[in-house]
Amino acid sequence: MAKGGLTSRILTPERKLSLQVFFSNKLAVVGLVIVLAYVADALIVQFAPWLIGLKHPFEVIPDYSNPVPQPPSWKHPFGTTYPGIDLLRAVIKAIRLDLGLSVVVVVPGALLGIVIGIVATYFGGWIDDVLMRLTDIFFSVPYLVLAIAIGYALGRTITSMVIALIIVWWPLYARYTRSVTLQVKELTFIEAARAAGASNYKIMFRHILPNALPPVLVQMSMDLGTIMIVISGLAFIGFLPVANIPELGYLTTLGLNYINTAPWTVLVPGVFIVIFAVSVYLLGMGLMDVINPRRRSSL
């Protein structure tokens, strides 16, 4: 790169290589584009709904004057669902909520799991045993059942659902981080840090964490898709006793009675869930290629 200092400092040869590897994977690029589209949707609905003419960005507005679901038309490109809710608008709003909820579940859950995983693995001994048995307990119960139980116990609100899912989700990250930490722990530079007098805290969070993070981040991005499915699933089964929320799972329930005559009512929100899950998975696969050292060297 013949350009000046700043660009070549940001775009180091390694980073350029990462971009090259990523963009050579066509499917990953597709995934990225779609995910970015969802993110853009969420941001616009959250901060500038007037840009696309949404007056009520955080709830769906029923039209009881015309409750029967209408097929797609110029006025309603995705059709309408019971009771008279324009699907296009509803889906746009729902993407924001679902994506937001997924992030709110995955990020804290991952953080909690990562910290527990690193601490347990680094110290080993009884700390490791106790924490790992704890994660085992969580693993032995099917996560959906556990989430529902906790959610019900805390009252069936969106907040309680999020908390329940975080509680159910962190053990996965603890386990995952554990395997990566075990590998990194054996590397010589960790010993070097100890010889240099670094405290355990410093070693864990300055040396182990940055090196353990990349595969965990990939897992996090893929989990966004999984969690969205879970959240939609919970809404679908009626976990949330509220009405008129823009949520993809909830939206599918609205059309259930009309599924034979008006299949789009169920298909449209469902498809948007699936598209996201698939896209974020493809994105994750692309990221895995980027961090995989062998894929970086060969052609």
Binding site: P13, L17, Q20, V21, R296, S297, S298, L299
Partner: protein, 453 residues
């Protein structure tokens, strides 16, 4: 002392480039080399010089992103790299997937050669061996794949031979008349018997008495009549019989025979208690024993060429010494040629007949061992010798600078940026290989009439 021998491998102007995301690495830049039948050629060089790549190329074991840009590799007359070279010359743009197709076809042709004519021994014995199979089986597998006929013949010979037959044969051995033994065995239709007898006779860990007892026991061991014709079929055709049940039974018998031969061979390699060892798993063996097993798999089928890539680098120095001694003996006993690749000049001195020094993908000097070691001509070779520490310490001199980035190799002679004798011509043109007599060749302008300023 390569006079009068003909080459089993001839490499001419070999150029190989690795296409990677980080750029194109010119790993081999015009390698010229021969390996004579029955000799040990040492290939020396530091990291990045291309010595391992050279070994892999001769075996045809290249990754898909390796492009043969020019040159030929004649293995007993067969040009290993021809299809790859032709693909590269025709292709407008190098595409690894197309290259891989060519490689796959090459693999098919090479299966006749690999394991039979040419074998390879790698650095890490633990990764070369399958951890879930007994080592005896892994050695036997080589024979099961390529030479079932020998195993069948051995078994049948023991079935057919009588007490008198083996007594006769033993007399030949006692008289050291190996040729006579082979003739006798042929005449009696007992091919395969001499293989077993010689293997026992040559062992050093057994007392002569014990050897004789074992040899005398190589008779009167009838084969189950069900499989006898199956075995005869295999002995004739080197394939398993087609009939379903017979096939499995014959195979089982051959595996047993394979274990037997594996134990014999390990005995020749100075493995203690080989009959016990063949049933053991790799992790139960020490590093030195494992490397002997790997050498056994490489040599049991009497190859014409064995390529060893840093075979002793992962071993302790005392274990290394015994492996080197073993190799020297194998050199005497077989007529295989060896290519011994190593970065360790002192190790190479112990085993090589001739030695080639590589730098940045080229052979810079090659010749008889004593000539090159005692009077190194190339500045790199000279500086390399001075950098090796010795038991009696001498002043160590390193080589300033770094090995060149092979994505952008220097113009002219590869070594000129680091050479204390660099002349203007060295920066401009690659020096030709000059013969200094006695098979000692060097690629350096100092010997090709370069002018100093």
């Amino acid at each position: 002392m390569s006079g009068g021998r003909e080459p089993i491998v001839t490499v001419r102007n070999l150029r190989l480039w690795y296409y990677t995301r980080r750029g194109v690495y010119k790993a081999l830049n015009g390698v010229d080399l021969e390996v004579m039948r029955g000799e040990v050629l040492g290939v020396a060089g530091e990291s990045g010089c291309g010595k391992s790549t050279l070994g892999l190329t001769i075996m045809g074991l290249l990754p898909r992103n390796a492009a043969i840009v020019d040159g030929e590799v004649l293995l007993d007359g067969f040009d290993v790299v021809k299809p790859l070279r032709e693909y590269y010359k025709k292709a407008k743009r190098f595409r690894p997937d197309k290259n891989e197709d060519v490689l796959k076809r090459l693999h098919k042709e090479m299966t006749r050669i690999r394991g039979v004519k040419v074998t390879m021994v790698f650095q890490e014995p633990m990764t070369a061996l399958n951890p879930v199979m007994p080592v005896g089986y892994q050695i036997a597998e080589v024979l099961l794949q390529h030479n079932m006929s020998l195993l069948a013949k051995r078994r049948l010979a023991r079935a057919k031979a009588t007490k008198d037959d083996v007594k006769e044969a033993l007399n030949f051995l006692r008289a050291n008349d190996y040729a006579g033994l082979i003739e006798y065995v042929k005449a009696k239709g007992l091919e395969g018997l001499e293989d077993q007898m010689l293997a026992i006779w040559r062992r050093r860990d057994l007392h002569d008495l014990v050897k004789e007892i074992r040899i005398l026991n190589m008779c009167c061991d009838p084969v189950n009549p069900i499989i006898e014709s199956g075995l005869k079929y295999t002995a004739r055709t080197n394939k398993l019989p087609a009939a379903p049940v017979i096939r499995q039974l014959v195979r089982r018998e051959l595996v047993k025979e394979g274990y037997r031969k594996a134990a014999e061979f390990l005995g020749l390699l100075d493995m203690p208690e080989p009959e016990k060892v063949v049933r053991m798993y790799p992790h139960e063996l020490s590093g030195g024993m494992r490397q002997r097993v790997v050498i056994a798999t490489a040599m049991i089928n009497n190859p014409e060429l064995v390529i060893l890539d840093e075979p002793t680098s992962a071993l302790d120095v005392t274990v290394q010494a015994s492996i080197l001694e073993l190799l020297n003996e194998l050199k005497q006993q077989t007529n295989a040629a060896f290519i011994f690749i190593s970065h360790d000049l002192s190790v190479l001195y112990q085993v090589s007949d001739r030695i080639a020094i590589m730098y940045a993908g080229k052979v810079v000097e090659v010749g008889p061992r004593d000539a090159v070691f005692k009077e190194p001509k190339h500045p790199y070779t000279q500086m390399l010798m001075e950098a090796v520490p010795t038991l009696e310490p001498h002043e160590l001199k390193g080589i300033k600078g770094e090995v060149p980035d092979l994505r952008n190799p220097p113009k002219g002679c590869m070594f000129h940026p680091r050479c204390p004798y660099a002349m203007p011509i060295c920066r401009e043109r690659e020096p030709p290989m000059v013969d200094l007599g006695n098979g000692h060749r060097v690629s350096c302008w100092l010997y090709s009439g370069g002018e100093r300023k």
